[in-house]
Symmetry: C2
Subunit: 343 residues, 2 copies
DNA sequence: ATGAAAGCGCTAACAC
DNA sequence: GTGTTAGCGCTTTCAT
């Protein structure tokens, strides 16, 4: 079958015997139109299955497109999925549609995605910045009125709104909780790369908590992993040390999954655990997993609300919103530390 | 600061002292251009920060936009997140960008989203159909060459490609596994609404497995839930029956989370479980959770591959691709059934 | 209440 | 190698 051309405004106009502009008026409820004309137009639209070309409209009107560009590291990571849903819910009321892409935490892919989004004249740009990415090329866009929001991590080379979790305080609280249960050798498995903002912040919180407890920072207790498999390996590595930790802190949700899986596999019930970011079934584990929960819904909601207020003309200084984390005590930190060997 | 207009092709042309078409040629590597001109153009482009307006280009070229529209029930559901990632990976090689939206399993929202996508002239439309949605309005679009693919469930009123899991066989295998371990009273907690395709298929598989074992179908052992909380309630309800089940089958990932959480909360280690769709940490539970795993990556990949082949002119009959599920035995079905009370 | 013409930013089809 | 003209589908502006 021949691929029949999609009907245009002109087709509808011809069908009814009016001008294109009249059809446009009816459809956009712009200017006046007689009841009879309106009826006929609407009928023809339905008959032909006409759908206005939004791109053509946008071209002519000149304003930004009714889309919002969102760059996240991984569409399949539930944390970012939850953030995305909250964003969609909030901007959806304004009729904005989500244009999404995964950067895989690669600066080049992130740049390619943002460029694509800019070429589409998105009305808002939201980015989870990758390590090594520079955002100074966005200065002119922001100056021209494009709201740009950084999510989860601050961006580099551009002063604009950022929404982050209370990484440092959260990690501190989690580690302090382990300390309170008597642990003195606490391992830390962070995200990769090590320059990642969240990794550094959470490590800083870990170090502060150790310091407050008078514990020295032992580099050999710090490991890194970017996925579940790597976290399992890192866990096994730490537990295989000559002087192994009695407790472990997981730096993010993926690390938590690998870490907990490895402890289960090796049947190490004697290791205390706290994880940063909540995971499903945390409460069904034995013992139930104590976590420093993030609030992805609030991160997404705050990001969207901030961007919308910018869109509405808010020209105040760039702000950084820190969304609080919350320690959820479930039991996995309560394995008592073994009695000290020395003295 | 004044929102300065974004530079256009004409601006670049003026800056260099050439015609707009020449700039266009350089940028698209269309026709020839002297090395000197090319250089000057590129320099001006960089200087002005020019980015071609993709919408304007598309209007003129007339073809579909380089976007793919994807309607899923919930951006935050990890199953659909994994599907989306696989789609993005596959179509990304063709330079297509993802336009996404959540339908919340509502036919009206689904329709609003698809209409938006059509108005944007997406080159591919992928939909997880909601119960009650009719898709006959897409007939003309598909006839005009727009690839339409249904994901996870078949659509209604339109004959086109669909990608689904082997729901019936998978559920059958899971339930048969419970039967093999001696269970004769097996509860089923399915998704809502009850007319949902996957719910019905999986229930059918459950019934077949019972039948094969010579077990009668007991309506009181079938419950429903759409979220984790509801699944927990349903679980408690089934276990509170006068003649309660000794084993439970969870109809999807969300149900599985609620069901397992409830069993943990009420400390019911005596209940055997198999879940449809894998969940994180399944192997770390005690006992580890046996599941009928779906393959979201393959679903996404197959959907994208099918759509791309349509885009390349494949006009063969609509196909339904069934992606196999896989029973992953981990232990939660191995709680022996109690000895029969009677006879 | 409706229409004609011009133009948004870009490229196809011809010039030269 | 480069420029000119026309036109994609729509809306703005100005008529009538």
């Amino acid at each position: 079958m021949a691929a029949s051309r999609r009907p245009t405004l002109a087709d509808v106009a011809r069908e009814v015997g009016v001008s294109a502009k009249t059809v446009s008026r009816v459809l956009n409820e712009d200017g006046p139109a007689s009841a009879r004309t309106r009826e006929q137009v609407l009928a023809a639209v339905a008959r032909l299955g006409f759908q206005p070309n939004l791109m053509a409209r946008n071209i002519r009107v000149g304003g930004p497109d009714t889309t919002i560009g969102l760059v996240i590291p991984d569409l399949a990571n539930p944390f970012f999925g939850a953030v995305a849903r909250a964003i969609e819910d909030t901007v959806g009321e304004r009729g904005l549609t989500l244009l999404m892409g995964s950067s895989a935490d690669d600066a080049g892919r992130e740049r390619a995605l943002t460029d694509k989004f800019l070429a589409r004249r998105v009305s808002i740009l939201m980015i989870v910045p990758s390590v090594g990415a520079d955002h100074s090329h966005l200065k002119s866009h922001r100056a021209a009125g494009l709201p740009v929001v950084f999510l989860d991590r601050p961006g580099v080379g551009l002063s604009t709104d950022s929404i982050v979790s209370s990484n440092r305080a959260g990690a501190h609280d989690g580690v302090a909780h382990l300390v309170a249960h008597g642990h003195r050798r606490i391992g830390f498995i962070g995200d990769l790369p090590v320059k990642l903002y969240t990794r550094r912040e959470r490590l800083a919180g870990y170090r502060t908590a150790l310091q407050e407890a008078g514990l020295s920072y032992d580099r050999s207790l710090v490991a890194n992993a970017h996925d579940q498999q790597g976290a399992a390996t890192a866990t096994a590595g730490l537990l295989g040390l000559a002087d192994p930790p009695t407790a472990l802190f997981a730096g993010n949700n993926m690390v938590a999954l690998g870490l907990v899986a490895e402890l289960a596999r090796s049947n190490r019930k004697d290791i205390a655990v706290v994880a940063f970011d909540d995971v499903p079934l945390a409460e069904a584990l034995e013992p139930a997993l104590t976590v420093v929960a993030q609030d992805p819904e609030e991160i997404g909601r705050a990001a969207a609300a901030t961007a919308l207020s910018r869109l509405d003309g808010d020209r105040s200084r760039a702000r950084t919103i820190t969304v609080p984390t919350r320690l959820i005590v479930r039991g996995s930190a309560e394995r008592p530390a073994p009695a000290l060997q020395e003295a």
